[in-house]
């Protein structure tokens, strides 16, 4: 088994607010992230594919294909967007690092043509990241 990892960056705005909570509870739970005017991050995404290199090409998956997939599925969807309002897959969810990483996993997992999606690591800053990994039994579906 060989793993390859591709890194991509996007910048986006968000804020945390649960409409089922009172304004006071939102402030208590989410703190300064509850500012209704929003704030933003430079997200760094690392996507890892696991598999056996193709004996003909020596590649697990052509990195160009992975680069194009990340551009299409993640960057075009999320870069310079407001994650609360402009990404349908996050509708009804608080756009935390955990939820964004899980959405990215679900977007990518069915579209990996060679190898398997092994890990999605999303850095909100150098001090914080969320990570999705395949289950121990190899099953990747479900959140």
């Amino acid at each position: 088994m060989t793993r390859i990892t591709r890194k991509v960056e996007f910048s986006a705005a968000h804020y945390y607010h649960n409409p089922n909570m009172s304004a006071e509870e939102n402030r208590r739970v989410f703190g300064k992230c509850n500012n209704p005017h929003g704030h933003g991050h430079n997200y760094v995404l690392e996507v890892t594919i696991a598999g056996e290199p193709d004996p003909r090409t020596g590649m697990v998956l052509d990195l160009k294909e992975l680069k194009d997939l990340l551009q299409r599925e993640v960057v075009e969807r999320m870069d310079h967007r407001n994650l609360n309002f402009e990404v349908p897959e996050l509708e009804g969810k608080i756009p935390t690092c955990e939820n964004i990483a899980a959405v990215i996993w679900q977007l990518l997992e069915p579209k990996i043509a060679q190898g398997k999606l092994d890990r999605v690591r999303l850095y909100e800053s150098s001090e914080l990241y969320a990570e999705c990994t395949a289950d121990a039994n190899g099953a990747g579906r479900g959140a």
Partner: protein, 137 residues
């Protein structure tokens, strides 16, 4: 799919690697310059990883507003700007290698009520890192 959250913390501390069970010569041979009796120090980087599930009401595995003060109280206050050999009781009898520091930090954090502690990873310098996880316990 499993999900986890990793938060990074930092502290600076001094230490000396010296085992009471070894002779002076053996300590010198095993630990080299880390055996300097005057000690030396590092800027430690600590990555704390907590396992899911994600609370649907908050979108979070744990609220950093709870995790940060817990780590600050249990680890950073005890370790930052301290001499690990002299100021942390556990290292009076245990050599404060970063293997042992990562184990000690895991033990201090595993009672965190907000989520399940999966792993503690420490960078002693930019060139080396050490991990202690649930399976190591």
């Amino acid at each position: 799919m499993k999900i986890s959250l990793t938060r990074r913390y930092r502290f600076a501390a001094s230490h000396r690697l010296h085992s009471a069970e070894m002779s002076e010569a053996e300590n010198q041979r095993v630990y080299g310059k880390c055996n300097n009796p005057y000690g030396h120090g590092h800027n430690y980087v600590v990555d704390v990883t907590l396992g899911g599930p994600v609370d649907p009401a908050t979108g979070m595995i744990t609220n950093l507003g709870e995790l940060d003060p817990f780590v600050e109280r249990e680890v950073i206050e005890a370790f930052d700007c301290k001499n690990l050999n002299e100021d942390v009781a556990e290292f009076r009898s245990v050599v404060p290698t970063t293997e042992n520091v990562s184990r000690e930090i895991f033990m201090r954090l595993k009672g965190y009520p907000g989520a399940r502690l999966e792993r503690v990873r420490i960078e002693e310098t930019g060139k080396n890192s050490f991990e202690f996880d649930e399976a190591s316990e």
